[in-house]
């Protein structure tokens, strides 16, 4: 009986935790409850993925209203996969959070941190699971408002301006999405995604629908930090508390990417998006710009969190590149990279969190000699970095492999070359850190004081690193799910 309610429980359990944390106002309790809720959500996501793989699409009618009248929750392979990665990251991050948060956030604010974190998680899950476009907007705003708050929780004053910049870009993006939703409603009279996809073909030739498509794409691109709308991202990631950077970097842009996939393929349909609109070309150009601009900017960063943030911009470029192929392989690569990049960035930001825990900040200067002082942390960072470059036996290799195959399938070999060249750029910025950590002596002042990070922080970091390696070797689960998801999105029968 409970299994049929899984889609709603997925969102409600984290949502319920938020007011409970506020009521009790106890640090340890808030942490425990949040952790339990997050692990439960992870379990639910795994069950949902299993169900969708076996039975196909799950539909859940909220309030018992039949589909176009009420709000529907609709889970297929694509969003079940997204739910799984989001809950997995939040579970690892929360495990890490207890020690890290105590160091970086004022103790009186810690219960509020967990409240906000759970709201953010519920918002992201709500975006991923819903089948109604306006409901998507509402949950997008929940996750957005809570991310602004999470970033502003940091003690650095630049976090305030970063949150403010993010707030402005995010709100403009959300308003654009709202305009797009309004125009779609105007032409079809419905808000349900499934219903929209059936009613849209009758009116796709109209200029109003084209405008709606443009507004939705631009709005989501802001949330996704696609070049040239990425300006909010580096500061937001760099000045947020470490746990928040890890969580937001690994999930928020991924969910935004999912929203893009959903609108483009499920609602408008691939034929409209790529045949009536010159989207393939625009996306390819923007993706390449993102990959090269992001990687190049990353090379010149001194703040390591900022470096990783620019690298995230580049990675978003890879995902968009996958979409621009408009083929099953390309989409498989994009969805794979969504999952894999979440694993990499989660692990990398967590290991940086360990560094910040011991050293207070993470600039190039602090990294010197850390290879000997914090061997486990830096080993994790190096493996994560290798994965970012795309070395075989890591997840990064798998997604780049499919990307290259997708490009060659289309006969676009210069793109395949571009992907390889961009990997060299990421080698440069990862190497800079490795060099500082292993080949430079630590400054003698602190050599004695720095110890390895506590075990409760190393454990989740290494869990993600092991996932990076495991899914780099045994690809049956990820590739299987991703290719099935890609087929579902493109409407290709199996």
């Amino acid at each position: 009986m409970i299994t049929q309610h899984l889609p709603i429980l997925q969102v409600i359990i984290p949502l319920l935790t938020a007011p409970v944390c506020l009521l009790v106002q106890d640090r340890r309790f808030a942490w425990g409850v949040s952790l339990a809720a997050s692990w439960t959500a992870f379990l639910i996501a795994a069950l949902l993925l299993d169900q969708t793989l076996e039975q196909g699409v799950i539909s859940y009618e909220l309030g018992g209203w039949s589909t176009p009248w009420g709000i529907e929750y609709r889970v297929d392979t694509v969003n079940a996969f997204v739910l799984l990665i989001v809950t997995a990251i939040s579970s690892a991050v929360l495990l890490f959070a207890q020690r890290s948060v105590a160091r970086e956030i004022l103790s009186t604010r810690i219960p509020l941190f967990y409240t906000t974190f759970m709201l953010c998680l519920a918002g992201l899950l709500g975006i991923a699971v819903t089948g109604d476009v306006f409901n998507l907007f509402v949950f997008m705003e929940i996750s957005a408002l809570s991310s602004y708050t999470l970033i502003a929780l940091s003690e650095q004053r630049r976090a305030l301006t970063a949150a403010y910049q993010y707030l402005f870009m995010g709100t403009i993006g959300a308003t654009f999405i709202l305009i797009g939703i309004g125009l779609l409603y105007m032409m079809t009279g419905t808000l349900n995604m499934q219903d929209l996809s059936q009613r849209l073909p009758a009116v796709t030739a109209t200029r109003t629908v084209e405008t709606a498509f443009a507004f939705l794409t631009v709005g989501i691109s802001i949330k996704l930090a696609l070049v040239p709308l990425h300006l909010w991202l580096p500061n937001a990631y760099a000045y947020a508390p470490s746990v928040v950077s890890a969580f937001i970097a690994a999930t928020a842009t991924k969910v935004a990417f999912y929203v893009l996939l959903r609108f483009m393929f499920t609602i408008f349909g691939a034929s409209f998006a790529f045949k009536s609109m010159p989207l393939s070309f625009i996306f390819m150009a923007l993706a390449l710009a993102a990959v090269f601009a992001g990687s190049t900017a990353a090379i010149f960063q001194d703040n390591i969190k900022r470096l990783l943030a620019y690298s995230s911009i580049a990675q978003i470029g890879y995902m968009i590149l996958g979409i621009s192929f408009a083929s099953v392989t390309g989409l498989t690569a994009a969805i794979l990279h969504l999952f894999n990049h979440a694993l990499m960035k989660g692990a990398l930001f967590l290991s940086l969190g360990c560094v910040v825990y011991r050293l207070g900040m993470a600039n190039m200067e602090q990294m010197r000699g850390l290879g000997r002082l914090m061997p486990w942390t830096m080993a994790a960072f190096v493996i994560g970095g290798l994965s970012l470059i795309g070395v075989p036996l890591t997840v990064g290799f798998i997604s780049k492999w499919y990307l290259v195959v997708g490009a060659l399938e289309r006969g676009w070999w210069p793109l395949a070359v571009a992907v390889l060249v961009a990997s060299l750029l990421s080698l440069v910025y990862v190497w800079r850190i490795v060099e500082a950590a292993y080949f430079q002596p630590p400054s003698p002042v602190r050599a004695g004081e720095i110890r390895e990070a506590p075990r409760s922080m190393l454990l989740p970091t290494w869990a993600l690193i092991i996932a990076n390696l495991y899914f780099g070797i045994d690809t049956s689960l990820t590739v299987g799910v991703a290719s099935q998801a890609a087929r579902q999105l493109l409407g290709v029968s199996e």
């Binding site: 176009p68 509402v138 200029r207 507004f215």
Partner: protein, 159 residues
Amino acid sequence: MIRLRNLFAVVMLFGIYSFLTASLFVTLNAVDVAFTEAAVGAGISTFLMLSTLALTVRREKVRRKRTVIPLLVVTIIGATLVYGTFDMPYFSDPSAPLHSHVARHYIEASADEVGVPNLVTAVLASYRGYDTLGEVTVIFTAGIGVLVLLGYRKRSGKS
């Protein structure tokens, strides 16, 4: 408003704008929305902006600004939207598609299914009740956010 340096006047003009919007909503038959817009736009938002001015500064500093690029961006976006209007159903046309599908069901069936005379309440609280839960959550989040940002100062100052 763009040239105006006195921020107090800017905020008051915004309050008037909101109030006019609310009256416009009444003429468009959206009484519930008008009520809310009057309470929120002309009420809370304006009040909060005035409080912020009291806590920060009243006047904007004079400085040169680049205006060409923003103007260009805004013109392009506006032109796109105007382009989109040409295939829209005409204003207040009863046969437009948006009035015939889901909305018609609400008008025809809600008396039997929900039994509440105010259709807006019926849709808000029942048909789309889950959205409203989201709305409550958004407000709750904002409250937490303001608490995080502005609460706790005394204690943190001591520690």
